[in-house]
Amino acid sequence: MTRPWRSAGARAALGTLALLALAALVAPLLLPDPAAAPDPLGARLLVPSLAHPLGTDALSRDVLARLAHGTGISLRVGLLAALVAGALGALVGLGAAAAGGLADDLLMRGTDALASIPRAFAVLFAVAAWPGMPLGGFTLLLGITGWMAVARIVAAEGRRMMAGDAVAAARALGAGRRRIILRHLLPNAAGQLIVATALGVGEAMLLEAGLSFLGAGVRPPTPSLGTLLHDGKDALAAAPWLTVAPGLVLTAAVLATNRLGDALRDAFDPRQR
């Protein structure tokens, strides 16, 4: 479990994410309330200073506080959505592979059909149909629109295993379908599942940011990286720090989760040891 972390890239990724998560956790203790605007009109669009390290926004709120808080929310949305997608994808993909034959075909063609619907469109549609959608609902929605790619990858690996001697040997030992899925298909597909899920974190964070930017994701006044970008766009020329800071954080977080997926796969795959 140690070798993958010797790579500088993996350590940088882990460090970046740890830093972002830590910032999101301790920010509420050290920084002002992100919603607080002591002087709603008098402190608008302040340049970064000691009192406000990243300045203030159009409603006189401290941008650093909002960024820290928003990073936490975006990370949480991305992570939970990816975990939901990973779990659903594993369930469908491994189920299809283990069942084989017609059931496999039906499940995977259904997956293809769902994957053909643009994800952003599906989420926008659902948000429009449910105007007061809470954050949890939005997160879940990102998850259940994002499992198809995972299912395909996992099903391919599962099918490869099913055709191999190891599963034949397990069946010859009297292993049932549940045991074959849990002991053979899942551990062998775990590496790919981890990578796909980690990629899903970045994808969900980007999608959250995009939809929130359009006003269809996380709802103001709750901050997220997307709503921060949205809030900053009207003052792009006057106060570029409003968009540059959340943009950089988003980029760093997505790059780090993608790199972390590779490191986790290496850490969990005994063949790499």
Partner: protein, 322 residues
């Protein structure tokens, strides 16, 4: 006492222009404590026959005729839990290539324990302890530590020992070994065969040894069944096979194997190749390649004819009065 009895087994695969039968009426028996070698070239149906014993014929193939009887149980009729209870528990199977038949991401100790757990014979710490015992029993030194290794960390011979330990975990009455040494170095082959033989004696198991290698047969098997094109063409005690082979195909096989004793002579290969199942001749299947064929061979399908004590051959040459 007969342990396994395969009667007229037929396996069909769908093919354009009608189903083909790569296993077509195979019969043989294995007694308790006995080793039967099933010998033949690739494509003769010997591995499919082995898989059919546990209903593991890969789809779309399926058993369309005959029976596999284990003691009083008709294995071909079993379904669901009853079938699962036979797999591993009454019939253990050793696969050809331990590198592909072992799960690469599970520790070998856990894989040996799997058969015990699947049949409710042991769990947790007890299963682990038994797994280590089994690894020791198949001759793995430092079994306690090896149990924590992954398959890729072991040598080929060691991996096949693990494969044998897995097959033996639930103490089956019959061990089916499908080309157990083909993927191994020659020096290791003898050790693995010796191990199987020794375990057979200790446990009184029946062993079905599937191989293409007559050299393996000579030392290890009590009886031999030779397969050609989906059928058993000759069956007899091992010594008899080498002393007085009755079927021209068997004689051809023996002539194409180099001998270590006696004068050095030319090897005589069998002319032609094994045809695919769709092109098997309607009468005697070996007829087109047979150096001793005569008119009847192309027109009438030979049955298994007696050729001595416990010796049968599927050849018109053995018919009395010829």
């Amino acid at each position: 006492m007969t342990l396994l009895s395969v009667e007229d087994l037929r396996i069909a695969f769908p093919a354009p222009g009608g189903a083909v039968h790569p296993v077509d009426g195979v019969s043989f028996t294995v007694d308790r404590g006995e080793t039967l070698a099933l010998v033949g070239e690739s494509g003769c149906g010997k591995s499919l026959t082995a898989l059919a014993l546990l209903q593991l014929v890969p789809p779309p193939g399926r058993v369309v005729g005959g029976r596999v009887r284990l003691g009083e149980v008709d294995v071909t009729a079993l379904r669901g839990e009853a079938l699962r209870a036979v797999r591993g528990r009454r019939i253990g199977m050793v696969f050809q290539d331990p590198l592909t038949s072992l799960n690469p991401v599970l520790r070998v100790g856990d894989q040996v324990a799997e058969g015990l757990v699947a049949h409710g014979m042991a769990q947790g710490v007890a299963a682990r302890r038994r797994a280590v015992e089994l690894l020791r029993e198949v001759g793995i030194a430092d079994a306690e530590a090896r149990a924590d290794a992954y398959p890729h960390q072991l040598s080929g011979g060691m991996r096949q020992r693990v494969g044998i330990a897995i097959a033996l975990a639930a103490e089956p009455e019959l061990l089916v070994a499908d080309e157990p040494t083909t993927a191994l170095d020659v020096t290791v082959q003898a050790q693995i065969l010796e191990l199987i033989d020794q375990l057979r004696q200790q446990r009184g198991m029946g062993v079905l040894l599937i191989t293409h290698d007559l050299g393996i047969v000579a030392g290890r098997a009590d009886r031999v069944a030779v397969m050609y094109a989906g059928q058993v063409v000759e069956a007899c005690p091992t010594a008899e096979l080498f002393a007085a082979p009755a079927h021209p195909y068997t004689r051809g096989l023996l002539a194409s194997v180099p001998r270590l004793t006696g004068p050095v002579g030319r090897l005589t290969p069998i002319g032609g190749t094994v045809p695919p199942p769709a092109q098997w001749p309607p009468a005697c299947r070996f007829e087109p390649r047979c150096p001793e064929r005569f008119a009847r061979c192309a027109s009438e399908r030979p049955t298994l004819l007696p050729a001595g004590d416990g010796h049968v051959t599927r050849c018109w040459l053995a018919e009395p009065g010829r």
